[in-house]
């Protein structure tokens, strides 16, 4: 973990609500794992005051890309950054996904910006020779931007949206249990971005005994494990243990996480 002033290679709008930014990380000597995140200073003035956590979307040799939803003050300020300027990022932070080396087929269940987080998993899976099947959920088809990127890595992509009336949990369960699992033997499950889909993933994981991981989001202060803003509970043996999403996570074993 270090702080960098990374040159911005591009920063562009990719759909109504999403932007895509790439930074030059050639000065960064640490390896960056899928599921890790950076704590980003959205503007070089005091407003917004705090940094914003963004997980890595694409990891390349000397570049890292983020996909971000324009939500409030911080992400709105980020859209003003131009190519050639620098982005103040702190990272890489947290514990990323662990890809089970023996996984032949990986199931990704993601919603909204969670898709960005799992895109990095698809990339890593592709590199290690695993096959990905992804269920991507979003409000609109336009918001399913990373779908093509996943397909580039050979992923089989199932899209569900509110727009099409296909995003209810029941339908997602159907797609997974009757369509996908009929054709594939799923070795591991990864999920991010939706409480309801996380519960579904947990249930599938325990029903079928498939191991998996989940990336959590919590409001953060320091992102360095110091402030205990970002805690959540995980089940360990029979007791609940408080962990910090920023440093003990954001990725946790799917079956240990207590989803409120």
């Amino acid at each position: 973990m270090k702080q960098y002033e990374a040159p911005v290679l591009f920063n562009r709008q990719v759909s109504e609500r999403y932007w895509h930014i790439a930074i030059d990380t050639s000065m960064m000597h640490e390896a960056v794992e899928p599921g890790q995140f950076f704590h980003v200073r959205c503007a070089d003035v005091d407003s917004p005051f705090l940094r914003r956590p963004l997980s890595v979307y694409q990891i390349h040799e000397n570049t890292i890309e983020f996909l971000y939803l324009v939500k409030g003050k911080g992400t709105t300020e980020m859209t003003r950054i131009r190519e050639g300027e620098t982005l103040d990022v702190l990272g890489p932070l947290g514990k990323g996904f662990e890809l089970y080396k023996q996984s032949e087929t990986v199931l990704l269940v993601a919603r909204g910006v969670g898709i960005a987080t799992l895109a990095a998993v698809a990339q890593a899976a592709f590199i290690q020779g695993s096959r990905c099947v992804a269920v991507l959920s979003a409000r609109t088809n336009e918001d399913l931007l990373a779908a093509e990127y996943l397909e580039d890595f050979g992923a089989e992509v199932h899209k569900v949206t509110e727009e099409d009336g296909t995003s209810d949990v029941g339908n997602v369960r159907d797609i997974i249990e009757t369509d996908i699992m009929a054709r594939h033997t799923i070795d591991s499950i990864y999920t991010c971005g939706s409480r309801r889909l996380s519960k579904l993933s947990q249930s599938i994981s325990s029903t079928f005994g498939i191991p998996g991981e989940i990336a959590l989001e919590e409001h953060m202060g320091c992102a360095m494990g110091a402030c205990f803003a970002c805690v959540c509970d995980i089940r360990e043996a029979d007791t609940l243990k408080s962990v910090r999403v920023c440093i003990d996570g954001p990725v946790f074993p799917l079956n240990k996480v207590v989803i409120e």
Partner: protein, 304 residues
């Protein structure tokens, strides 16, 4: 960093090599990746309670204009864990360890002060008599001069390590509390903890902090804290630790000029992980530029 200038300050019998230390609750072992702990004036871990306690409901932080509200509560693993893990983790550094204590009663404060205030690796105690999160509606010992006096004098009896009273800014008359703490036997005054605050999400009509209210920190509060440092310095001869909203060396110098002997930095580290050591360097640059050889020439040097 070469120490060009004398930045040594004293709090009771404790000498700090420089006046910059972390604020309790905004510092952790993990920050070693960003800064060299040996450069700090002191190390101040998060306040500790006697028994383990879980901390508050989420969300625990929210952003405000030029500041943030936190209501972590004192999520704590209890005194035993502190003795077994926290102290060993920090005692290896050159910088003295100041243990911050939170408790629910005067007796519990005294009990913890007696344990920690006689531990070989604890150089001083900071009594967090101000935490607005623990009690209903933000009451705290530090809101009442008699409670403050009673608490400090009890703690005074059980340890001879320097005692720092961390005052709350949520009072009508900070001078009265400062006087009570001094009378009780404090060796230093931390001015101050966070301002009790609240923020509501107008879309959901819910408080933005799970615990409804929390403590406001960051540059938004600095003008209130500077005022209180100045006011306290008018009535007390104890060294003051200025705390609240310091983001850079100038902010720290401002508090020193107002009357502080040392400073604590909390929220700034969240935005700039190297804030603590950056601030120390900037203070030294300021001293260099203004030809000040000894930090004591700055303390309370406000020109009215």
């Amino acid at each position: 960093m070469i120490q060009y200038k004398n930045t040594e300050v004293k709090i009771g019998g404790l000498t700090l090599k420089n006046p910059v230390m972390p604020a309790s609750g905004a510092f952790g072992a993990e920050m070693e990746q960003a800064i060299d702990f040996n450069k700090l004036g002191a190390i101040v871990p998060k306040s500790i309670t006697k028994h383990p306690q879980p901390g508050n409901a989420k969300p625990r932080v929210c952003e405000t204009n030029a500041g943030m509200i936190n209501s972590i509560g004192i999520q704590s693993k209890g005194l035993d864990y502190y003795l077994e893990h926290t102290i060993p983790q920090f005692e290896t550094y050159d910088s003295p360890l100041i243990a911050s204590i939170s408790a629910e009663s005067v007796e519990e404060f005294a009990e913890m002060a007696s344990v920690l205030g006689n531990h070989k690796s604890v150089s001083a105690l900071e009594l967090n008599i101000s935490c607005p999160n623990l009690k209903g509606n933000g009451q705290a010992f530090g809101m009442d001069p008699e409670d403050t006096f009673a608490l400090i004098s009890k703690a005074r009896k059980v340890t001879d390590r320097p005692l720092i009273a961390k005052l709350t800014p949520n009072v009508t008359d900070i001078q009265e509390i400062a006087i009570a703490a001094e009378a009780g036997g404090a060796d230093g005054l931390n001015v101050a903890n966070t301002l009790l605050a609240m923020s509501i999400d107008v879309e959901t009509r819910k408080p933005r902090i799970g615990n409804v209210m929390g403590g406001l920190s960051g540059p938004a509060v600095k003008p209130v804290i500077v005022r209180m440092i100045y006011q306290v310095s008018q009535v007390s001869s104890l060294p003051i630790i200025g705390c609240g909203g310091i983001m850079n060396g100038k902010d720290a110098i401002e508090m020193i000029i107002a009357g502080a002997s040392a400073v604590q930095v909390g929220t700034a580290s969240f935005i700039q992980p190297t804030a603590l050591t950056d601030i120390l360097s900037e203070m030294q640059e300021y001293m260099e530029k203004h030809g000040i050889d000894d930090i004591h020439d700055l303390i309370g040097s406000i020109e009215i």
